[in-house]
């Protein structure tokens, strides 16, 4: 079948690319937005000094937020909760889903450390009421409790709860909640831009053959193939 796609050579493509003007300040803002949202304080501070770009958030608040995120990532959930409450007591008071997730993480840490009796006591005193207050948590609660039933937790159906990835998941949620409470967007813009790039290329693929970027990490143009 004859292709009705237009062919664009590398030369022509690069010529067109060069014609697109992007302001340095805009790219700087994107970088700063990324550093700030993800919490790279020192990098943000250095970047500010070098480029003169103003962060859209007070860098001091980033330190607090990162302390919370780190505490969750290390499994120090109780410490994380205290820190969040010092930052803004409203966050956990108005976000039952997040609060439940943090308490669930506490239970997981107790189970991980083999503190079965304490885990049961904690589940009864702290988690069961959450299930009473909100039925949608019951299923997740049951999943977590069932960890106690299995001797070999690494092979049980809910074993993924003990994975470090669970901590990271919770840490991301916490980070997002803190950012939102500070009226800042919880997602950095850069990944969205990259998504849009991929989407645009997918759309163009239907109509043309052109040098495209297949590896986002090096953004190298690869020659068009038929």
């Amino acid at each position: 079948m004859a292709s009705s796609k237009k062919l664009i050579s590398r030369e022509e493509w690069e010529k067109r690319l060069n014609n697109v003007k992007i302001r340095k300040e805009d790219t700087n803002k994107l970088v700063m937005n990324f550093l700030v949202t993800e919490g790279y304080v020192e990098a943000a501070e250095k970047f500010r000094m070098e480029s003169g770009t103003h962060p859209d958030i007070d860098l001091a608040t980033i330190t607090d937020r990162m302390a919370v995120k780190k505490a969750v990532q290390c499994g120090n959930v109780e410490d994380a909760i205290e820190k969040i409450n010092d930052l803004n007591p409203e966050i956990l008071d108005t976000n039952p889903q997040l609060f439940f997730q943090l308490q669930q993480q506490r239970l997981i840490e107790l189970i991980r450390n083999g503190k079965v009796e304490e885990a049961l006591e904690f589940a009864q005193e702290e988690l069961a009421p959450r299930g009473e207050e909100n039925q949608s948590f019951l299923e997740e609660l049951e999943r977590t409790i069932s960890l106690l039933v299995f001797e070999d937790t690494s092979n049980c159906p809910v074993g993924e709860l003990l994975d470090i990835s669970q901590r990271l998941k919770t840490a991301t949620e916490v980070n997002a909640a803190v950012l939102t409470s500070q009226s800042h967007e919880k997602d950095p813009k850069l990944p969205s831009l990259l998504k849009m790039l991929i989407w645009a290329q997918n759309q163009l693929d239907k109509k043309a053959a052109y040098p495209c970027i297949n590896d986002l990490s090096n953004a190298r143009l690869e020659d068009p193939t038929f």
């Binding site: 290390c74 499994g75 120090n76 959930v77 109780e78 410490d79 909760i81 205290e82 409450n85 803004n88 007591p89 409203e90 956990l92 008071d93 108005t94 976000n95 039952p96 889903q97 609060f99 506490r106 840490e109 107790l110 991980r112 450390n113 503190k115 304490e118 904690f122 702290e126 009421p129 009473e132 207050e133 039925q135 949608s136 939102t180 009226s183």
Partner: protein
């Protein structure tokens, strides 16, 4: 090393540490209490019961004294922040907590602390106050006092989000009357809120939208002043926010626009905005959180009582979308209730909507909701049923009189919640207007007996709605059914209901009698049972009828009695002429002169039946009526503006001429 919970002090132990002499112990205990209650409703309740709130409020008060005496700043600030945060958490979404905080006298202290120089203190205090103002129990803010208005303006002008947010929440909670709305407008508050809409942060925008909606509610004057040409086109900023990236902002913007639409016929009436609002709200249903829970309520406020919007929503597949969401199951009760009420509004007027509803088999899902553990959901399911059962086509086909619906519905008659009972009765009232021979199903599942029981309820709304359902049940029912109802009710109960203290109950009781005696002549004997208890009650009630509707139903009941035999007609005559006190005028003349055309009609109909030429006693009765001035009154009504009255008047006069009257 991951931490674990070790050596946690008991709540009572913590509380005693709150009164410790050592500041270190005290502040640590305070912080611990705060951390235990945040997010934890159960703990809030248990600490509350132990008296934690007065203890914490006391610490706040003491710390204020320390501030004034300039004692140890850092420590004091810490106490202030922690105690304010704890109080705020007690008040967060927890009415018992709000009440406790107010009772402990913390409110004035919190207000004073808004002027504190320390930022963290102000933040904590502003948050606590905002939690209080989110509750219905918050003290009423008097906007009409000058210094209060100035204080509010200073709050809104603050750079701090927490403080301006507090200002907005005070407006949202306390602004109620048109006078207050106007005062806020005159003080320039709306302009300030508008600037927060356009230039503020996410939370400021959301807070502004809520406050604006409160000030606009039912106040077309303020709306037109706001939307007027001087301020540019502020409505457009709200419309833009309806397309914002954040779902909560979209919802609040829609709610604000709906308030404006409903209050003022001049704004937002074009089909474009109507369609947009419908689509945005339906799309918000997909949000898994609170926004999605509240979206159906906003949808209801948009379409309720408005056929044009219901039609547009039908075309936008609203019913399909609601059906899709209910089918998913395990809904948050608030969302479930909202969707059911939205469906009720959709089907309230248009047969096309009801057809769509029934064709999608949504009825089964609604029947399931009748047994839900949440009272709000049960009531909403009943209200939805009431709307759908207005479909005469399907009622006639006996579609609803089946066990899947009737049995759970009848069970709700015994529901612990009055509002559920009343809602169930409302749905029943429609369902029992069944034109097939299947009314007996209702009797079989004990429904009729239950209705009679409910007619004896302590709640007047339950009594009147039960009677309404019975009235519809006996409407054109066969004799056997009617006799069953009457023997269950008994004459003494029915007559006491006719004489009930509540007018709405009186009206329904009289209407029930009207339907009972309608039709077969044997049924008229009901009103004569036990020495004419019911007839007597009707007569007494008509003499002191407090509203037209009572007169209407009573007269139609008498009219039906007078359609019987001579004995019946004579009994009615006697009733019409019983004097009460020094009144020379029979209530008949009063009714004939009423402004209410239905009442006039009913009364003339009764006279028609009393003077029917074929009955031997007619001339005599006519004479009596003439002597009482009733005939001449009727003569004056030859040109009555109401056609029904005019026609019946002619019948009476025609009949009177048959007896040689001029």
């Amino acid at each position: 090393m991951p931490s674990a919970t070790v050596n946690k002090p008991r709540p009572s132990e913590l509380l005693s540490r709150l009164t410790s002499a050592e500041p270190e112990v005290k502040v640590r205990a305070l912080r611990e209490v705060k951390n235990q209650i945040i997010g934890n409703r159960t703990k809030k309740l248990s600490f509350l019961k132990l008296g934690a709130v007065p203890a914490v409020a006391g610490i706040l008060a003491d710390s204020i004294d320390d501030v004034t005496e300039n004692n140890n700043c850092n420590n004091t600030n810490n106490f202030l922040v922690q105690s304010a945060a704890a109080l705020g958490s007690f008040a967060c979404g927890f009415d018992a907590g709000v009440q406790a905080v107010l009772d402990a006298g913390a409110f004035p202290n919190l207000l004073r602390l808004l002027a504190n120089p320390n930022e963290k203190v102000v933040d904590a205090v502003a948050r606590a106050l905002r939690m209080i103002y989110q509750s219905k129990l918050a003290p009423k803010y008097d906007f009409l006092q000058q210094k209060n208005m100035e204080f509010l303006i200073s709050l809104l002008n603050s750079e701090k989000e927490t403080v301006s947010g507090l200002g907005a929440s005070i407006i949202t909670r306390s602004c109620e009357t048109n006078l207050e709305q106007k005062a806020l407008f005159d003080a320039g508050i709306l302009r300030k809120l508008n600037s927060l809409l356009e230039g503020g942060s996410l939370s400021q925008r959301d807070a502004s939208l809520e406050s604006l909606a409160t000030v606009f509610r039912n106040n077309p004057e303020v709306i037109s002043k706001f939307a007027g040409p001087e301020i540019g086109r502020p409505l457009s900023s709200i419309i833009d926010l309806a397309k914002d990236r954040y779902p909560r902002t979209r919802l609040l913007a829609c709610m604000c626009l709906i308030v404006i639409r409903n209050a003022s016929p001049h704004f937002l009436q074009d089909i474009g905005i109507k369609t947009k609002l419908i689509h945005i709200l339906l799309e918000l249903l997909d949000d898994p959180g609170q926004v999605g829970d509240e979206a159906p309520f906003a949808f209801s406020s948009l379409i309720a009582q408005k056929e044009d919007l219901q039609k547009l929503a039908l075309e936008a597949n609203a019913i399909d979308k609601f059906h899709h969401h209910i089918k998913k199951g395990s809904l948050h009760p608030r969302r479930y209730e909202g969707i059911l009420l939205a469906l009720a509004d959709m089907c309230s007027k248009l047969e096309s909507c009801r057809s769509k509803f029934l064709s999608l088999q949504v009825l089964n899902l609604v029947a399931d909701a009748l047994t839900d553990y949440n009272a709000g959901v049960r009531a909403a399911a009943c209200i939805c049923l009431k709307s759908v059962t207005r479909s005469i086509k399907n009622l006639s086909a006996g579609y609803f009189m089946n066990e899947t619906i009737v049995i759970p519905l009848v069970q709700l008659f015994l529901d612990p919640s009055t509002s559920v009972q009343v809602a169930a009765l409302g749905a029943t009232s429609n369902i029992v207007v069944d034109f097939t021979t299947r009314k007996s199903i209702f009797v079989q599942c004990g429904g009729m007996k239950q209705l009679v029981q409910l007619a004896k309820s302590m709640e007047s709304s339950v009594r009147s709605n039960a009677l309404w359902a019975l009235k519809n049940f006996v409407f054109q029912a066969d004799n056997r059914l009617k006799e069953g109802v009457f023997s269950e009710l008994t004459a003494s109960l029915l007559s006491s209901l006719i004489r009930d203290p509540e007018p709405s109950v009186q009206e329904q009781a009289l209407a029930l009698v009207r339907n009972l005696v309608d039709g077969c002549i044997n049924l008229i004997e009901f009103v004569f049972a036990e020495d004419g208890l019911i007839l007597g009650a009707i007569g007494r009630q008509l003499q002191c009828a407090s509203k037209a509707e009572i007169g209407i139903q009573g007269m139609y009941a008498l009219c039906n009695v007078a359609s019987g035999n001579e004995f019946h007609r004579e009994a009615v005559m006697q009733l019409l002429f019983t004097q009460m006190g020094d009144k020379n005028q029979s209530f008949v003349v009063k009714f004939l002169q009423s402004n209410d055309s239905q009442l006039r009609t009913a009364t003339v109909w009764t006279i028609v039946n009393l003077t029917c030429p074929s009955s031997p006693g007619a001339p005599c009765r006519l004479e009596k009526l003439r002597n009482a001035g009733i005939v001449s009154q009727i003569k004056n009504m030859v040109n009555d503006p109401c056609v029904d009255v005019k026609l019946r008047v002619r019948t009476v006069l025609g009949q009177s001429m048959a007896f040689g009257d001029n």
